[in-house]
C-alpha cells in the first residue's frame, strides 16, 4: 500500500534485537501490525492523510445532500431532523476530520524533512495522536447507527457545529447524539494537543545544524504557529465540553438557567477556542502556499521575515477577537467596538501575506503547473473570503449578516477557496516526493478548473442569498422570498464541484498506483525535503544535513562540491557514533488510544444505571481507563530504545545493529 514500505532498504530482513525477557516489542514492519505499531512520521502522516481524505469525501457527500435539499423551495428530500444532523456533521467532519488531519498529514510528513530531522521528537506520542484521532472520528460518527438501524436515541450529533447551550442540554437533546459530539471532540482535542506538543518540540529542538529559526521554511513556521494555536486554544473547548458533559450527566448547572447558569458562557468558552480554530485551519494552508509560489516562480519568498512575523501576529491577534462571532448577543457597545476593531486589525497581517505572495511572483519565471494553479486559485479566493470577513467585522453590518448565508459564503470562501485549495495544491506538490509518482498535468489542471468553476458557482450566489435574508441552518424555505434561483444555481454548482472533486481524487488514486514515475527533486525545489530520494527512506537523511541558507536545498544545488565534502566528513562522524539510530515500533500508543475509545464508548452509548452497582457505562469506562493505563505504563517502561542501521554507498542498509538505549 504505502510507497514508503516499498522503498529498497526495507526489504532487508530485520534481526530480532536482543530484548529484555518480558519486554518484547510486539511490533512489525509489514502488514497490519506494521501499520498499528509504526512510529515513522511518514507512515503516520500517510495514515492521517488517508483518513482525512476519506472523511473529506464523507463531508462532501453530506454537503451534496444539503445542497440537494435546498435545490428548490419546500423540498422534502430530507426530513428536518436529518437535515439538521447533516449540517452539523458536515461542519464538524470537514473541520475536525478533514482539514485538520490533512494539515496534520503534511505536518507529519513534510515538516521533519524540511528541518533535516530523522523523526519527530516523540515518535510514539505521534502514533498515539494518530490513533486517538481515529478513536475520536469513530465516536463522532458512531451515531449514524441510529438512523440507519432505527435505534431510538442514538443519532448522529445535530446541535450545530458550535453546539450552543442550552440546546445541548439533556432537556433539549435527550438522546445520545450530543454525547457523541462531546466525546468525539474531546478525543480529537487530546489527539490534537498531543500532536502539537510534539511538533513544537520537534521544530524547536530537532533542527539540523545551521537551520536557525530564521532559516526555517515558511511551512514549518506555520506548523509551529498552528501547533501553538492548538495547544493554547483547545483547552478552552475541552473545559467547555467537560462542563456540558457534567450538566448532562451530573446535574450541574454551568449552563442551566434553572440553577443560575448563563448559557452565554458557553459561547464565550467555545469561541475563545473557535476563532483560533479557524486560523488553525488556514495557517497550514498559507504555509503550503508560501512553499509552492517560490518553487514555481523560481524565486525565494518575497519578504520572508514579514511573512513569518505576520503569521505570528495573525495567531496572536486570533486570541483577541473571539467575540466577533457574538456581535448579535448584545454584549454592549464597548465590548462590541473593541472586538470589531481587533477583528479588522487581522486584515493587516493577512494582507501582508497576500502582498508578499504577489511580490514573490513578480519578476519570477512562473511555471504554471497544477500545484501552482491551485495556489493562485487560493490567493484569489482567499482574498474574496477575507473581504467578506472584514465586512462581518463591521459589527452593525454583521447584525444583518450573522447566521445568514452571507456567513456561509464567507467561510466557504476561506475554507474551501483557502484551506482546501491549498491542501489540494499541497497534495499535488508533494506527491512526487511522497510516492515517487506525479499526477498528470492535463488531468490535474482539468480538475482544477472544474473545481474552481464549481466552487464559485456554488458559493458566490450565497452572498446574495444572505443579503436577501436567507438564514443558515434552514432545511426549507418558502418560494416567495426570492431565494429560489440562487439556491438552484448554488446546488448545480455544488454538483459541478462534486464532479471536480471526483476527478481530482480518481486521478490521485490512479497516480498512486499507476502514475508516471519521476526522479528526485521533480519540481526543482528549494527546501530540504527535495534533497531526498522519492519516496524518502525510512531514516530520511543519510547524513544529517548542514544548513547554510534559508532555501537550504537550493543552496546545496548551487554549492555541490562544498556540500559533498562536508557531508562525507559528517557521514564519517556519524558512523563513528554507531550509525543511524532508529526507534523501535510500539503497539502501546495504539493500546492507550484503544482504551480511550472504550472509555468514550462507555460514556456515550449507555445511560447511567439508576440502581446501585456497576452498569455497562461505568464498567466500560473503567475497563477503558485500565487499558489506557496499561498502554501508557508499558509505553513508559519500554523506554525510548531503538536500533542502529548502517548504510552502504548507495544508501542500502547493510546491517541492523543491536538494540541500544538512549
Amino acid at each position: 500500500m504505502d510507497a514508503t514500505v516499498k522503498s529498497a532498504h526495507l526489504t532487508h530482513e530485520e534481526h530480532a534485537p536482543a530484548q529484555p525477557a518480558l519486554l518484547t516489542h510486539p511490533s512489525a514492519k509489514y502488514g497490519l501490525m506494521g501499520w498499528l505499531t509504526t512510529v515513522d512520521h511518514k507512515k503516520i502522516g500517510f495514515l492521517y492523510g488517508l483518513f482525512a481524505l476519506i472523511f473529506f469525501l464523507v463531508g462532501g457527500f453530506e454537503a451534496l445532500l444539503i445542497r440537494t435539499q435546498l435545490m428548490k423551495p419546500n423540498n422534502d428530500f430530507m426530513s428536518a431532523q436529518l437535515y439538521n444532523t447533516m449540517f452539523t456533521m458536515h461542519g464538524t467532519t470537514m473541520i475536525f476530520l478533514a482539514v485538520m488531519p490533512l494539515s496534520a498529514a503534511f505536518f507529519n510528513f513534510i515538516m521533519p524533512l524540511q528541518i533535516g530531522a530523522r523523526d519527530v521528537a516523540f515518535p510514539r506520542l505521534n502514533a498515539f495522536s494518530l490513533w486517538t484521532f481515529v478513536a475520536g472520528a469513530i465516536i463522532l460518527n458512531v451515531g449514524w447507527i441510529g438512523p440507519i438501524f432505527g435505534i431510538e436515541g442514538h443519532n448522529a450529533p445535530d446541535a450545530g457545529w458550535y453546539g450552543y447551550s442550552p440546546l445541548t442540554s439533556k432537556v433539549f437533546s435527550p438522546g445520545h447524539s450530543v454525547d457523541y459530539w462531546i466525546m468525539g471532540l474531546q478525543l480529537l482535542g487530546v489527539a490534537s494537543i498531543a500532536a502539537s506538543l510534539n511538533f513544537i518540540v520537534t521544530i524547536i529542538n530537532m533542527r539540523a545544524p545551521g537551520m536557525t529559526m530564521m532559516r526555517l521554511p515558511v511551512f514549518t513556521w506555520m506548523t509551529l504557529f498552528t501547533a501553538f494555536l492548538i495547544v493554547l486554544s483547545f483547552p478552552f473547548i475541552t473545559i467547555a465540553l467537560v462542563e456540558v458533559m457534567m450538566d448532562r450527566n451530573f446535574g450541574t448547572s454551568f449552563f442551566e438557567v434553572s440553577g443560575g447558569g448563563m448559557p452565554i458562557l458557553w459561547q464565550h468558552l467555545f469561541w475563545v477556542f473557535g476563532h483560533p480554530e479557524v486560523y488553525i485551519l488556514i495557517l497550514p494552508a498559507m504555509g503550503i502556499i508560501s512553499e509552492i509560489l517560490p518553487t514555481f516562480s523560481r524565486k525565494p519568498l518575497f519578504g520572508y521575515p514579514i511573512v513569518v512575523f505576520s503569521g505570528a501576529s495573525i495567531g496572536f491577534l486570533g486570541f483577541a477577537v473571539w467575540s466577533h462571532h457574538m456581535f448579535t448577543t448584545g454584549m454592549g457597545t464597548v465590548a462590541t467596538a473593541a472586538f470589531a476593531l481587533a477583528t479588522m486589525a487581522i486584515a493587516v497581517p493577512t494582507g501582508v501575506k497576500i502582498f508578499n505572495w504577489i511580490g514573490t511572483l513578480w519578476g519570477g519565471h512562473i511555471m504554471m503547473r497544477t500545484p501552482m494553479m491551485f495556489a493562485l486559485g487560493f490567493v484569489w479566493m482567499f482574498m474574496i473570503g477575507g473581504f467578506s470577513g472584514v465586512m462581518h467585522s463591521a459589527a452593525p453590518a454583521d447584525a444583518q449578516q450573522n447566521d445568514s448565508y452571507f456567513v456561509i459564503a464567507h467561510f466557504h470562501y476561506v475554507l474551501i477557496g483557502g484551506s482546501i485549495f491549498a491542501l489540494l495544491a499541497g497534495l499535488h506538490y508533494w506527491f512526487p516526493l511522497m510516492f515517487g509518482r506525479k499526477v498528470s498535468e492535463f488531468w490535474g489542471k482539468l480538475s482544477f478548473w472544474v473545481i474552481f468553476i464549481g466552487f464559485n458557482v456554488t458559493f458566490f450566489p450565497m452572498h446574495f442569498l444572505g443579503l436577501n435574508g436567507m438564514p443558515r441552518r434552514t432545511f426549507t424555505y418558502d418560494p416567495n422570498l426570492g431565494w429560489d434561483t440562487a439556491n438552484f444555481i448554488a446546488t448545480m454548482g455544488s454538483y459541478v464541484l462534486g464532479i471536480g472533486m471526483t476527478i481530482y481524487f480518481i486521478v490521485l488514486a490512479y497516480t498512486f498506483f499507476k502514475g508516471e514515475k519521476v526522479k528526485k527533486d521533480y519540481w526543482d525545489g528549494r527546501t530540504l525535503e527535495w534533497s531526498l530520494d522519492n519516496p524518502p527512506p525510512e531514516y530520511n537523511f543519510r547524513v544529517i544535513p548542514t544548513v547554510h541558507d534559508r532555501d537550504a536545498w537550493w543552496y546545496e544545488k548551487n554549492h555541490k562540491e562544498e556540500i559533498a565534502k562536508e557531508q562525507a566528513a559528517h557521514a564519517k562522524a556519524e558512523e563513528a557514533h554507531g550509525g543511524i539510530h532508529m526507534p523501535f515500533g510500539s503497539i502501546w500508543p495504539f493500546v492507550a488510544s484503544l482504551g480511550l475509545l472504550i472509555v468514550a464508548i462507555g460514556v456515550t452509548m449507555f445511560t447511567s444505571k439508576t440502581t446501585p452497582g456497576i452498569g455497562p457505562k461505568l464498567g466500560l469506562t473503567l475497563v477503558g481507563g485500565l487499558v489506557t493505563f496499561i498502554g501508557i505504563y508499558f509505553w513508559s517502561l519500554e523506554g525510548n530504545e531503538g536500533y542502529h542501521i548502517h548504510l552502504d554507498k548507495d544508501g542500502k542498509v547493510i546491517e541492523d545493529g543491536h538494540h541500544d538505549k538512549h
Binding site: L232, F236, M262, H268, V272, F319, M331, G332, A335
Partner: protein, 109 residues
C-alpha cells in the same frame, strides 16, 4: 548567586541549593500565613486585593523560578511558559471584563 557555571567540585554548591530550597519553602509558608491573616485585617478592599494578588504572584514566581529552575534554565523555557501564562491571564481578564459589563447581568430571579 552566579550564573550557571560548569563547576566541578559541586558539593558546596549543592549544600547552598539545598539551603536555598528550604529557605524558599519557608518564605512561601510565611507569605501564605501573611495572606491568611491579611484577609481579616480592616483595610480597604482594594488594598487587600492588591496585596493578595501581589503576594500570590511573588509565591508563584518563586516556585517557577527556583523550584522549577527557570532561573537556571535556558530563557526559552521561560518564554514558552509565559506565552501560555500571559494568554491565560489575558483571556481571563477579557472574560471577567465582558461579564462585568452591565449588558451581561443575568436576569433577576
Amino acid at each position: 548567586m552566579s550564573a550557571p557555571a560548569h563547576a566541578h567540585g559541586h558539593d558546596d554548591h549543592d549544600v547552598s541549593k539545598f539551603q536555598i530550597y528550604v529557605q524558599i519553602a519557608l518564605l512561601l509558608a510565611v507569605i501564605t500565613g501573611v495572606e491568611i491573616i491579611a484577609v481579616y485585617l480592616p483595610f480597604a478592599k482594594w488594598i487587600l486585593v492588591t496585596s493578595l494578588v501581589v503576594l500570590s504572584t511573588v509565591k508563584f514566581m518563586f516556585v517557577i523560578f527556583y523550584f522549577m529552575h527557570l532561573r537556571w534554565d535556558k530563557p526559552f523555557c521561560t518564554v514558552m511558559f509565559f506565552i501560555g501564562l500571559v494568554l491565560a491571564a489575558g483571556t481571563m481578564w477579557g472574560l471577567l471584563a465582558l461579564f462585568g459589563a452591565e449588558a451581561s447581568l443575568p436576569l433577576p430571579t
